[in-house]
Every structure is written in structure tokens, then in C-alpha cells.
């Protein structure tokens, strides 16, 4: 039941529906990278090295706009801060793994994989081989992501912009959002996080996302504390 093989394919199956969002996002990233002046080889190398659509897409856009390297790296760090939160979030379950498994899981840790893993781990807290679930989600999403970027590099520019393929990025996170709002405190965290993201959007260095996320977390905690006070 909890064999590596079973957990691996449970991860692959869980990741299959979100693949529909990875494909257009990869296409858009491939197109944007070429438009920013990267060669196909550089685009693929970056895609394998980063394996993060948000970082790739924003970095090549900044590069095209002539931003200095320091600004690109600072932005990439800020965009990846949520990965620190995911890293913290998985630590209670995966913190005692051997180093080689932590390195492997960290490399394929994405928004999708985190959301799927949290749901699976919460529903089945006593199952073994949890890391194999993430290796499964990672194996399929990594493969499909790289192929999508490749297709974007070579044929994606022929897709008209009016199709709005980049909107699939927002839709993917919208679906993930609904899945992670089980109670009122989480809903309040989401409302404050989303509202603050709008208010803080024009902060320099894309700091708006991080500011908004922290505001949302604080709001969720405050709501939870008030609920406890009222019910107790």
C-alpha cells in the first residue's frame, strides 16, 4: 500500500489534472524567453536549472527590459520566498529524510506539488514513503514542463496573443486557492492576502507579493485567535 512504487504513481495521478495548466504556462515561458533574446539552448538550460515558471518568466522579462543582474536576482529571490514557506510547510513530514532525498524533493518542489502533497499528507498522515509522492508529482510535471517550454521555443510564437494563454497561470492558482480554503480563518487570510497584493502591487522590486502574503498570514492567525477567544 505504501510502497515507493504505489506512492510514486499516486503522485503522478494527483499531478495529472494540473498538467493542463502547465502546458500553456510552459508555452508562454518559452515564447517570452526567445522574445527576450535568449537562444533556444539558453532557454532550455534556464528551464532545467530553475524549474520555476514564475522565476523564468519574470527574469527574462526583466532581462529584456535591461534590468541589472542584481535586480533580476533580488526579484527571483522575492518570487521564490513562497518556496521557503513550502519548504517550512513540508518539514514536519519530510524533515528527517536523508540529505539526498531532501535535495531531490527540493528540486521538484512547486506550487502544484506542494498543494497536492499537503492535501495527501493531511488525509493520510500515517502513510510511509511520503517523499515518493513528491518524486511522482515532480517526475511528470518536470517532463511536461520541459516539453512545453521546448514547444514554446520553436512554435509558440505562432499562437495569437488574443487567445490569452497567459491567463491559464492565474486560473491554475485560482483552482489551487479554492482547494486550500477549508475554513473561515483561511478565507480571511486569502481575502486580506489578495487585497494587500493589489494595494502593494506598485512596491519596488516586486516586494508586493511577499508583503501581501505576510499580511494574509497575519490576518488568518488573528481571525483564528479571535475565534478561539469567542468560543472559549
Amino acid at each position: 500500500m505504501d510502497s515507493p512504487r504505489e506512492r510514486f504513481f499516486a503522485g503522478v495521478r494527483a499531478q495529472a489534472p494540473p498538467l493542463i495548466g502547465i502546458v500553456p504556462f510552459g508555452l508562454v515561458t518559452g515564447v517570452a524567453s526567445i522574445a527576450a533574446g535568449l537562444t533556444p539552448f539558453e532557454t532550455l538550460a534556464m528551464s532545467i536549472a530553475c524549474f520555476s515558471g514564475v522565476v523564468q518568466l519574470v527574469s527574462v522579462q526583466l532581462h529584456a527590459a535591461g534590468a541589472p543582474l542584481a535586480v533580476i536576482l533580488a526579484t527571483a529571490a522575492v518570487l521564490s520566498l513562497r518556496l521557503v514557506m513550502y519548504s517550512v510547510g513540508l518539514t514536519p513530514w519530510l524533515g528527517s529524510l536523508p540529505l539526498r532525498w531532501k535535495l531531490a524533493v527540493a528540486y521538484v518542489l512547486t506550487d502544484n506539488a506542494y498543494a497536492l502533497a499537503v492535501v495527501d499528507f493531511r488525509h493520510h498522515p500515517d502513510r510511509g514513503n511520503k517523499h515518493w509522492f513528491l518524486i511522482g508529482t515532480g517526475a511528470i510535471s518536470w517532463t511536461v514542463w520541459q516539453i512545453s517550454v521546448l514547444v514554446g521555443i520553436f512554435v509558440g510564437a505562432q499562437v495569437p496573443a488574443s487567445w490569452g494563454l497567459d491567463f491559464t497561470f492565474a486560473l491554475t492558482f485560482l483552482a489551487l486557492l479554492v482547494a486550500v480554503v477549508p475554513d473561515r480563518a483561511s478565507a480571511f487570510a486569502a481575502i486580506v492576502g489578495g487585497g494587500a497584493a493589489l494595494a502593494a502591487y506598485f512596491l519596488p522590486l516586486k516586494l508586493g507579493l511577499v508583503t501581501a502574503a505576510l499580511a494574509g498570514i497575519a490576518a488568518g492567525m488573528a481571525w483564528h485567535a479571535l475565534e478561539k477567544k469567542w468560543s472559549g
Binding site: 489534472p17 495548466g21 533574446g37 535568449l38 538550460a45 534556464m46 536549472a49 530553475c50 524549474f51 527574469s59 532581462h63 543582474l69 533580476i72 536576482l73 527571483a76 529571490a77 521564490s80 518556496l83 519548504s87 517550512v88 510547510g89 513540508l90 518539514t91 514536519p92 524533515g95 528527517s96 535535495l103 527540493a106 528540486y107 518542489l109 498543494a115 490569452g164 491567463f167 491559464t168 497561470f169 492565474a170 486560473l171 491554475t172 492558482f173 485560482l174 483552482a175 486557492l177 479554492v178 483561511s186 487570510a189 486569502a190 486580506v192 492576502g193 489578495g194 487585497g195 493589489l198 502591487y201 507579493l209 501581501a212 502574503a213 494574509g216 498570514i217 490576518a219 488568518g220 492567525m221
Partner: protein, 105 residues
């Protein structure tokens, strides 16, 4: 410059992904940290989605003539009812195309 960017973004991204997984032991996490973690996905996903939908051409566009706002509302309802990433994507994109065609038509 391009290769420095590739190397730099890769190192930064991996280091942050690995950060806590690599260093912090499970039992050393304070209850307040665990409590805060519960709200991370909701806050982060909302903070990513809202500007994607409401910021158009570097300005806030909160009006019924923003096709992405209408499509996102439709997608939110679909996501709520179906709990499916697939149907949210399909329904959201169809809604976007229909609204764009309507407004543009």
C-alpha cells in the same frame, strides 16, 4: 550576462526551496510557526491571483469591462462547485474567450 542570470536564478531558487527542508528538524518547530504555516497557501495563492486578474497594463482595472475579472468570477464558481483544476481551467478560458468576443464584438 545571460549565463550569469541563469546560474544566479537557479542558485537562488534552489537555495530557497531547500532552505528549511535542509536545516530545521520537525520537533523544533514552534506551535506558533505551525499555526502560521496553515495560512501560507491561502494567503500566497490569493496574492498571486488577484494582481494577475485585476492589473492590466500596470494599472488597477476593477470594472465590468475587464474580461479577466468576469472570467475569474466564473472560474471561481466553477472551482468551488467542481473542485477540479481541469474544469476551472477549461471553464475559465472559455469564459475569457466569450467575454472578449462579447466586449470586442
Amino acid at each position: 550576462m545571460v549565463w550569469l542570470m541563469i546560474l544566479g536564478t537557479a542558485v537562488v531558487t534552489f537555495a530557497l526551496r531547500f532552505s528549511f527542508l535542509g536545516t530545521v528538524k520537525p520537533h523544533s518547530l514552534a506551535p506558533s510557526v505551525k499555526e502560521a504555516l496553515r495560512f501560507v497557501p491561502a494567503a500566497v495563492f490569493a496574492a498571486i491571483v488577484v494582481p494577475q486578474v485585476l492589473i492590466r497594463e500596470e494599472a488597477i482595472h476593477l470594472a465590468p469591462d475587464n474580461p479577466r475579472l468576469l472570467a475569474a468570477i466564473a472560474a471561481l464558481v466553477i472551482a468551488w462547485v467542481t473542485r477540479s483544476v481541469t474544469w476551472t481551467l477549461v471553464g475559465g478560458m472559455v469564459a475569457l474567450w466569450v467575454v472578449q468576443w462579447w466586449i470586442g464584438g
